[in-house]
């Protein structure tokens, strides 16, 4: 056990740093610095650069387009991209449906979908939650009825992130009403341009349009777009949730977040001293950093286990719980740090709107982000559901 980087690792780190410095889009950097909401094209610009380099899917097996990096190289990659404040790649294709397809899909499905996920040609969204099925996901009612070589899908999905941009969606649908809840579900890939699909925005507390309702009315889906066996979709769903949870720890991004809050707290004055000198604020900062260190080393231990042949297991629920709590505490401290200038509501630069936001640059997104990030302990299986999972799967209760 040691924390040393080998000469090869150090060379890799240098290569990554130089690549980011030379290739990260300047326009995107500018928008991030201004705290602008990012568009589909903004996200895709970095995605496509990485695709060209062959680095867009480090976690994938090499045969499907992965990088073949060692766990240490992947660690370095996430550290360096966070350090440079690179935008997060959209997870729906790369981290979610991609692994489901290469794990459970047919050769035809792999050939049809995986290259377009890697290239960024297809933008994916996730059709899981329903108005009546949140934490109790298996109670979902969106139904797919077989009609020859097609399913006819009817129902409603909600909280569908970035569906307004999506070309494709992966959906959990009920294909057997009489089976036990988890046993009558199938996993379908649906073209979002199919007749019968309506996407309606939901505006969240920070004013963002991130999530949507998706209505499906007699949507016809070819049977060859079903992944894995009929009525076995829950297997894919569980696999995907465990994958989703590990990424959710967000250690590298939170480390970057800590540095941002500290920079604000060194700039903002509290009396004649920087806010960071305030013993109460400093103590909260220290506790947050220390908890983040504990999360980081728990993730490193978990990755070492995964490397020894154990896939992401139920312990990833721990990473989700602690990671999401830390993300929330970061936004809480940021909002606290900016003081008065957390209040002005800035809608972002619209067309022809060049007015500079009120207050310091670091202040105007503080409250919307704080509001928005309340989602992290709710999505991906709420933290209460994660505790149920640990109780059952790890503690055997």
């Amino acid at each position: 056990m040691d924390m040393e980087f080998s000469p090869e690792d150090l060379a890799f780190q240098k290569e990554v740093r130089e690549f980011i410095a030379e290739n990260y889009p300047a326009e995107l950097r500018g928008k991030q610095d201004e705290g602008d909401e990012l568009s589909k094209e903004d996200f895709l610009s970095w995605h496509k650069i990485l695709y060209k380099k062959g680095w867009v899917a480090p976690a994938w097996p090499v045969e499907y387009g992965g990088t073949g990096w060692t766990p240490t190289q992947r660690f370095i990659w996430s550290e360096e991209t966070a350090r440079a404040d690179c935008v997060r790649l959209m997870p729906f294709g790369l981290a979610m449906v991609g692994p489901v397809i290469y794990t459970f899909g047919t050769p035809e499905q792999k050939a049809r979908f995986l290259p377009r996920i890697l290239s960024g040609e297809d933008w994916w969204c996730q059709g899981y939650s329903e108005p009546g099925s949140g934490s109790d996901l298996a109670s979902l009612r969106t139904a797919a009825v077989r009609d020859g070589d097609e399913y006819v899908v009817n129902g409603q999905k909600t909280w569908t992130t970035m569906a307004q941009y999506a070309d494709w969606g992966f959906f959990l649908v009920r294909t057997d009403k009489d089976a036990k809840q988890q046993e009558g579900i199938s996993f379908l890939l649906i073209d979002m341009k199919s007749p019968g699909i309506t996407v309606r925005p939901i505006i969240t507390l920070g004013g963002e349009h991130e999530v949507n309702e998706v209505f499906l009315e007699d949507v016809r889906v070819s049977v060859d777009q079903r992944v894995y066996e009929e009525n076995k979709g829950w297997t894919c769903a569980k696999f995907l949730l465990a994958h989703e949870r590990t990424g959710i720890a967000g250690v590298a991004a939170s480390k970057r977040g800590v540095e941002k809050v500290k920079a604000i707290a060194r700039t903002e004055l509290d009396g004649d001293k920087p806010l960071l000198a305030n013993p109460f604020f400093k103590r909260k900062m220290a506790e947050l950093e220390i908890d983040l260190t504990a999360l980081e080393f728990t993730e490193l231990r978990s990755l070492a286990g995964a490397n020894a042949g154990k896939g992401p297991g139920p312990e990833s629920s721990l990473l989700k719980i602690k990671g999401s709590e830390i993300q929330q505490r970061l936004t809480e401290l940021t909002l606290e740090a900016v003081g008065h200038y957390g209040a002005p509501y800035f809608r972002g630069f619209g067309d022809g709107d060049n007015e500079h936001p009120i207050g310091p640059d670091y202040a105007h997104r503080a409250a919307p982000t704080y509001f928005n990030v309340r989602k992290t302990t709710i999505y991906g299986g709420s933290n209460e559901i994660q505790r149920n999972i640990i109780a059952k799967m790890v503690l055997g209760l």
């Binding site: 056990m1 924390m3 040393e4 220390i290 504990a294 080393f297 312990e315 505790r387 055997g396 209760l397």
Partner: protein, 379 residues
Amino acid sequence: MDFTYTETQDMIRDTLSRFLADTYDFETRQKFINGDLGRDPAIWTALAQELGMLGAAFSEEQGGLGGGALENAIIMEELGKVIAIEPYLPTVVIAGGALKAVGGAQADAMIPEIIAGNAIVAFAYAEPQGRYDLANLRTTAKKDGAGYVLNGHKGVVYAAPWATHLLVTARTGGGQRDTDGVSLFLIDANLPGIVRRDYPTVDGNRASEIYFENVAVPGDALLGGEGTGLPLIEQIVDEATVSVCAEATGVMQKLHEGTLEYTQQRKQFGVPIAKFQVLQHRMVDMFMEVEQARSMTIMGTLKLGLPASERMAAVSAAKSKVARGAKFVGQNAIQTHGGIGITQELAIGHYFKRATMIEGQFGSADHHLGRYERIALAD
């Protein structure tokens, strides 16, 4: 970067774990504690001579197995799982650590005695007025010819009643709280003028108040430089602090496991109380504290070799997290057990007592948060 244990490390853990399973069940431990001596010396001898365990953290040239801090952590965690009262921490981790750091004739003479199980060392560093400040010393060592004369009072010296040697911090110069003028001595525990008042501690150990009354010690008892001992003392206390984090991890794991087991047996309202979601979630929160304590112990252990300020920040991060985790897990283990938890009858309460003492050992959570802030969060 590598987060796996070597085969030798796995073997050390397995060997010790099996030995303790055979020799150190809860009832036997209680017999040791309640005997006159407060321990069974045969255990220490077996750890040294049958298992070679006391040499695990020393180099092969010194007669050991070639390990270091990670081996100490593995052994301390296993000792924690049985709430062992063996003086591994002061003898091997602390005195052994100091001897490894200074090297030379003193190390050559003493390390083989430690590995063989012949020497037990107690660490006399705390003083009644000093709290957790290692430099706050009234004990003095005055130069006298080739040697020194010790005077002063050391408090709550764990394992002192059993010790063949004492590792003592004392002032050879400077004022009571100066960082300069601090020295470290390794002395025979039975020198004339050493007066001990022995007593049991609440966590099952034995300790002493030690009074030095014009104790003449030889010049070669000084470890390291005269008056420049503080950095060495800080280093060995950091090593010891990470070691009690490792011990705490073992203690916390057993508190958690014991609680899981008990809630599956104990029935109320016609069902095992483990069926209640409010208790399930509590036990998940305890589990997460155990896992994070393990992570922080590894983190602290791996960073012991870094430059002093980084080492201190890492150790303080670990200790503050583990101390709070130990409190949370201990208190909730007792609460979940209900009435039986607050009796002496079950092991669980004894684990809770050790966990509680570890919280404050080498500095409380607040003390370490303060030290972390001074290093990592300078404004």
